[in-house]
């Protein structure tokens, strides 16, 4: 199990889950709404120029700039889950 923030640029993975930092973590809720849900393919497209932050992540047909701290909430795995 890896974190989205640890992916290498250009690599593809599948979301396993989004971990909330607090009971009502608005960032985690929003990430799920944006499509970071189990089984969804994600790709790390690029890094920002300073400190490799933020990161450009493709989920579904959309690309989002996420800060590292946001991407750390998303756990990914390289294998496509079978049950989805």
């Amino acid at each position: 199990m890896t974190l989205l923030s640890e992916l290498a640029p250009g690599s593809q993975a599948f979301v396993t889950d989004v971990q909330a930092r607090t009971a009502s973590d608005p960032v985690a809720v929003r990430l799920r709404d944006l499509g970071f849900v189990p089984g969804e393919p994600v790709k790390l497209v690029a890094y920002g120029p300073f400190g490799a932050d933020p990161m450009l992540v493709q989920v579904g047909f959309t690309r989002f700039a996420l800060r590292r701290s946001e991407a750390e909430r998303v756990r990914v795995s390289s294998e496509e889950p079978s049950h989805v």
């Binding site: 047909f61 690309r63 946001e70």
Partner: protein, 618 residues
Amino acid sequence: MSEATLAVLPRSIALVGNPNCGKTALFNQLTGSRQKVANYAGVTVERKEGRLVLPSGRKLRVLDLPGAYSLNATSPDEAVTRDVCLGQHPEETQPDLLLCVADATNLRLHLRFVLELKRLGRPMVLALNMVDAAKRRGIRIDREKLEQALGFPVVETVAVRRRGAADLISALDEHALTMPAVPPASAEQDLHAETRRLIASAVSMPQPTSPMDEAIDRWVLHPVWGLAILAATMLLVFQAVYAWAGPFQDAIETSLGWAGTQLAAHMPDGLLRSLLVEGVIAGTGGVLVFLPQILILFFFILVLEESGYLPRAAFLLDRFMVSTGLSGRAFIPLLSSFACAVPGIMATRSIPDPRDRLLTILVAPLMTCSARLPVYALLIGAFIPDQRVFGLFNLQGLTLFALYAAGIVSAMLVALVARRFGRRAGEQALLLEIPAWRIPNPRDVALGLRERGAIFLRRVGTIILALSVLLWFLSSFPTPPADWTRPAIEYSFAGHIGRAMEVLFAPIGFNWQICVALIPGLAAREVAVSGLAAVYAVSAGEAGVEHALATALGSQWSLATALSLLAWYVFAPQCLATLAVIRRETGSLKATLGATALLTGMAYAVALIVYRLTGLLT
């Protein structure tokens, strides 16, 4: 179709959907409005109303709403959309029909929100927008299948093409009587799973993103090349605003000068001639010459906004902005503030974190708005020699650049200090969508420019004209007695007001003439130029107002005074419209007064330092 039908005709419809799916473009198409359309999320931040007359003659009230990713709102603009959809908005009744808009190239994200809206159980229609872009990318969507699965009408639209909403309009007309009230979907249903099912059955997508976009982004978002492209773009804008405008400005100056001399030659000397030549032509003409610069600035802003570059610049600069205490999310509002702080401050509504938003509002007036350009250009022209430095740069252009940079640097300093002293509210999210690249439509850019030009001319023709006449009056009356030996203006109202203010401003090198010019500058910053023209009794002669004024200033002010005034202009929040919008957006008088005091204090302090230092060095 569902059994449940709407008994009454819908009279109001609201455009709802994800950010940047083309709601406003569609709204403009339906209602003939000209609301702002641009290629980034969060363009529309408040509800806008318009009217649509259907071919059958029935009238609909159409509401354009800010884009939202979900009804679980995280920023003030999303909250407006949520409240209107749920019928909880204090000033808005629940719309009879939700006109959902989805970007056909982005259905994985957009259909989920459509399904979330469906749960509200309201009558709905789905506009599949941007089918032109979808076709170009080889995306095929089975509209009928989608319609069947969703249970409400689905129509294809191209909001930016003439008659691109024809299908939608006839659907609104024809379905009006039997508009199905969509049965609320069961709440447990997983929206994401359902979205995937819909896409699997009705959409064929060759690639998730456009290969062309990816190729461009490899350069534009590259850690090194990306920053180089950003810097080059900014420099190009500067160079263009400063250099390309020259010939056009000369033409305007010449014609105004001609008008002035003709009037002076053909009218008897007297009050009316003085009013026309020194009040009207000199006052408005001094500002009018900046029309070319303003149009060039807006040309670049419009092209950048429509291309999709702005969120990418925000991506590149986010980390840097965070280190100064701001957020990459603040980039677009702050960039808009270079045109004018008022829309810039309104654009902060798309910033989720209240502290980020407040800080952005506070520093937005430090971005050099286009109304300051005339003042800068006048003083630079009068005091900074037109020479090359390092064989490459023009000293005047560099000074202008330095003034813009001074605003940006001080904004970062303010943000840094505010973060240091303010309690840190938890972490703030970026979560910024990077849209597809788009080639700006020349017709839209031309229309946008015409609009900006018209706004500027209206300003010149109304507020600036009125203030110029007022200034002319204040500096012409009362007329001095016959034995008065000094300049007549010193006897006038303006002379007295200026003298009274001078006490306060003398330490930073302002003479009473500048003090007089500062007052109308509160209503419109550019009028300071007209104000100076009025108090120095410059008239539109052969060389044009601006030249005459620059010569007058150059011979009567010290360099220290000129630089001090420039410094004052970088910081001083002397624009009532900006203060009013801060008051409205923060809803707090305390914050507004605090911002005013802070910015005024900074203006005074920096002007003082600049004045003293220059005094020592020259």
